[in-house]
Symmetry: C2
Subunit: 319 residues, 2 copies
């Protein structure tokens, strides 16, 4: 059995821990297709927050308290950069993380595609699943905002980290997406998949940038594998992160139903065959999509594994 | 009064502390023209060991024990890079240092010349003197060696740090020197100088790469300012570093006389008007060069200031 997971962010990384464990139990292969919209070049370093979150989390090196970056991180490089008064100063550039970015940037500058660089980094981390960036091309999420009385497009990281989303926000733009091709291996993985899961990641800035790559959206929409999404919204609020702010910008209701309808039923040009919502959201109905309500809180690995099993069960009947 | 110092390495940096103090006392301006032959790109970072040694030493941030790099340095980035098994692993890349290299590399990649980058970094360090790289062009010292039964040219840093000079060594090559132009400001500084000092730096790998820039050597040879060198060799041994190994490669005697003759008298196509040697080397004679013997050990700042005063005194009578 082959499982492909579209994912991004910390929630997506934690979900993958459950996918990996369940896959080991049932002898399945897992490939994660990871959001690159958050990627940014800062201080000459190519930083891939979502790929790193997945890699560090599955490699057992993520910081469980802070929610991102490496456990036992130190901040000498960041403090020194601040003393040189170079911008951006608001980004959390850890020392351990810096080494990852140096290795990645050196390889990218030497001409290796991001997918090959990711594979090289994973030789150290041994995530136990296949890890692919959505695209090897440049694709960045920018956010149209009003700052200091001026309307402008800023990088997603600036919106997220510097402003915590607390600025008038008009829309999200996936720069480069239209011309982006799926990274090496992505279309093969999708074509051979027995089931495709949408992780309970932020639908607007983690999942949507992946789907903004035309050939990926097309592969999902026209493929034979059932697509099951897991709701990132429980009882009208995101489990973590700022999905509520992102959804509000799109005028999408912050609810399991709202996100499910945004992804949409396959029959109606959407993606979903099945939609897994939390028990507290039982009763959600989306025309053309099979919904099921189960506990969705990823409080520990066992509960996450249970969730994944439920998603795979739903896939069997959803299409 | 305007003083220009050709310099490189730790000895040169410490000498400059004395030059700066003496210049403050007599109201002189100082410009250091710094060796760039040691410069190297590693892990995508442009590293300038001699510029950094001068900058950190004059900025009061150099490590006095280790002799290079920053005081209070940490090594997280280096340890992490080693865990990725990327080469080179033998280079001492400190965390604080990494920030300097990131700022420099980002500016260089944006198109700023090294001289402008150095000026920008010095806004933080306030060295109290003018600091110019010998050239803004690429100039690297390579070393022709025998390693594993093979003759090859390796970067100077690999020879110095990885092999500690302990490999059969045939010659030093200053790659790029022939076509290198002096950095912005260098020819002006040399042209306006009242005296030019050669710091007691390694003559083969710190001073010679500066002189390998044709227009710099020409400016010294044909200029009106007296040129006084300070011997890096005392009593047949280098004060620090590996000048002995470097001189042996060139079949130059490891002595104050040997180095003085290598620089050579101006009348004979060389550079020197005056040559300052240690008291223990009193009696050294170099045809066409005025020599003087004074204490040359830079044990503290006061002694270094005294040495500088002696060098300037010698300049008055040497030409």
């Amino acid at each position: 059995m082959r499982i492909v997971v579209l994912t991004g962010g910390i929630g997506g990384a934690r979900f993958l821990v459950g996918v990996r464990e369940h896959a080991r139990a049932i002898g399945a292969e897992v490939t994660a297709v990871v959001n690159v919209g958050d990627d940014v070049r800062m201080h000459g370093l190519q930083i891939c927050p979502d790929l790193d979150s997945v890699m560090y989390t599955l490699g057992g090196a993520a910081d469980p308290e802070r929610g991102w970056g490496r456990v036992g991180e130190s901040w000498v490089v960041k403090e020194e950069l601040a003393k040189y008064a170079v911008e951006p100063s608001w980004f959390g550039l850890g020392d351990k993380d810096t080494a990852t970015h140096l290795v990645r940037t050196t390889m990218l500058n030497a001409g290796y595609p991001l997918s090959a660089v990711t594979a090289a980094l994973c030789e150290r981390w041994q995530p136990g699943i296949g890890m692919l960036p959505a695209t090897d091309d440049r694709l960045e999420t920018h956010v149209v905002v009003d700052v200091d009385g001026e309307r402008k497009a800023i990088h997603f990281q600036e919106w997220w980290v510097r402003y915590r989303g607390e600025v008038p926000t008009h829309r999200f733009v996936f720069r480069g997406a239209e011309n982006a091709k799926p990274a090496a291996g992505v279309l093969d993985a999708l074509g051979q998949a027995d089931v495709i899961l949408l992780a309970p990641s932020n639908p607007v800035v983690s999942i949507a940038p992946i789907l903004a790559v035309p050939a990926i959206r097309e592969a999902l929409a026209s493929g034979s594998a059932p697509v099951v999404g897991v709701s990132p919204i429980i009882g009208g609020a995101p489990v973590r992160g700022m999905a509520d702010k992102c959804l509000a910008t799109l005028e999408v209701e912050v609810s399991a139903a709202g996100v499910g309808r945004m992804y949409g039923p396959r029959a109606d040009g959407g993606l979903l065959d099945g939609w897994l919502v939390d028990s507290s959201d039982a009763g959600v109905e989306i025309s053309g999509v099979t919904t099921r309500a189960v506990p969705l809180w990823m409080k520990d690995e066992a509960l996450t594994v249970r969730m994944v099993a439920d998603a795979l069960d739903l896939a069997k009947v959803a299409r």
